[in-house]
Amino acid sequence: MLEEKRFVQGNEACVEGALYAGLDFFAGYPITPSTEIAEHLSYRLPQRAGKFIQMEDEIASMSAIIGASLTGAKVMTATSGPGFSLMQEALGYAVMAEIPCVLVNVQRGGPSTGLPTHASQGDVMQARWGTHGDHSIIVLTASNVQDVFRVTVEAFNLSETYRTPVVLLFDEVVGHTRERLFLPKPGEIPLVERLKTNVPPDVNYHPYLPREDGRLPMSDFGGVHRYNVTGLYHDMWGFPSEDPQTVHDLLRHLVDKIEEYTDNICMYKEYYLDDAECVLISYGSPARSARYLVESRRLHGEALGLLELQTLWPFPAHVVREKCRNASYVIVVEMNMGQVLKSVKEAVDRPERVFLANRIDGVFITYKDIGNTLRVVQGKGV
């Protein structure tokens, strides 16, 4: 029975998801509230001959997983606010060199050291724009232990499919809450393995020549193909180049390979949206409060609905527009000053109907808080 059912924290569910996805190598540095991920992995990975290392800091952690990934390993690191900020340079390197890897950021109160042990979702925009230069990136989130497992597996699949870093943006509540986790059987969730080149040993292999579909078959370091990897703009050989056409094409490739596949990357859940007059849009733990409100109000016949986003970037604008089309108002529920609110306003037809229900004091937002905002929005005051 213990086999398929577990009672775990979100952070441990993330560990189980990573192991299910085939994690080989983890490098990290402790930081609240993500530390349990490193702790569990230091125990679990060597059991299956996987490698765990605690590096000297987050920069080193991110650097180490980049190196390991190039040898063919599935890799991950985990951190929170301050550490995530420190990883931004290396994150950009992984984007430029197209290195599959997964970064977990269990958010805490920011800016700076902020509120290490409290709930917040203040890193949504940073996850998209934190490193210098134009780029694109995939960011996923979840609201309960089961979904944490699920999106973690998906993060590895997407990072392999698109050869890109994927950020898992959880929050303190999801990371620390213990609840039931059903472990899927092996094979129950399909896994994406790394796309390897089939170029024979003595034929020229072009590591950075994208296929029609934008994908790049890889060859492991230590394998038969020797090539160069760099954070500079580079040609199909991976050799530095400043040729304008080469530069233009590479940057377009880096962005298009993700943005053009937004539909395939987009994950979300919906509750009672069909006839919803008021659409709540939320993600992470606040979506649980939103769902509680929706379900209890439905009992009194109020036409509330919930759109729970699991893919934050690339932002699923078309889905949001669709789901909000018939809503007389939309309330974005998040624990920050309205970071997803911005994207929602951009996406919908009538931005003036979009409102924000939020908390920024480190206290988990409750269904009562959302209810209060709803009342105000309905013109009934507090």
Binding site: T32, T117, H176, T177, R178, S285, R288, R291, T366
Partner: protein, 191 residues
């Protein structure tokens, strides 16, 4: 079954959090129930009063925290003063008579149980105080079956500590089972 909302409170060393996890885990892994557990973290958890929330239900649990507990357990005076007010009117209050003096009355069924003292006299080791408290809770409210908790103890507790824990659980069950509230201004809980 109506979802049952419990708040455990006490001080750092007392193992309130462990007991909350054991209870919830027993419900999830050894009965066909759903449960969720969360706790206070950080500096305030270090000094001051620790708190753990548990919700047990036979359906999905969306909202993870307890705003108004059906059952409130306080193992220190500080915890009692800090949390007494959140107890649902007519709910159940469990305090340890050694650590807590509940002066004025609350709108609740209040049990002041000599858990600590009984553990010290019958076992002589305070580490199992929290398990005794768990036993008492199970005795009082219909949460999970004692066997389920024993199951959890069996793999969570180091072998040589196991008997001591089982004993403590038994003591608690007795205390909780055949006791009547110190006073009762609340509505009955057991259905």
């Amino acid at each position: 079954m109506e979802p049952l909302r419990i708040v455990f409170s006490g001080s750092g060393g007392q193992g309130v959090i462990t007991s909350s996890i054991i209870l919830a885990e027993a419900a999830v892994l050894h009965e066909d129930l759903n449960a969720i557990q969360s706790q206070s973290y950080g500096p305030e958890a270090r000094g001051g009063a620790t708190r753990a929330d548990v919700i047990i239900s036979d359906t999905e649990i969306s909202f993870p925290r307890v705003l108004q507990p059906d059952v409130l357990i306080c193992l220190t005076q500080t915890a009692f003063t800090k949390y007494r007010s959140i107890l649902r009117p007519g709910g159940v209050l469990v305090t340890d008579s050694h650590y807590v003096k509940t002066h004025q009355r609350l709108d609740a069924r209040c049990y002041e149980l000599p858990m600590y003292d009984r553990v010290m006299e019958r076992i002589g080791n305070p580490v199992v105080f929290n398990i005794c408290m768990l036993g008492a809770l199970i005795g009082l409210a219909n949460t999970v079956r004692p066997e389920s908790v024993e199951n959890v103890l069996a793999y969570r507790v180091p072998q040589d500590y196991l008997p001591m824990n089982q004993e403590a659980l038994k003591i608690g069950l007795e205390l909780g089972g055949n006791c009547s509230p110190a006073y009762n201004s609340g509505s009955p809980l057991k259905k």
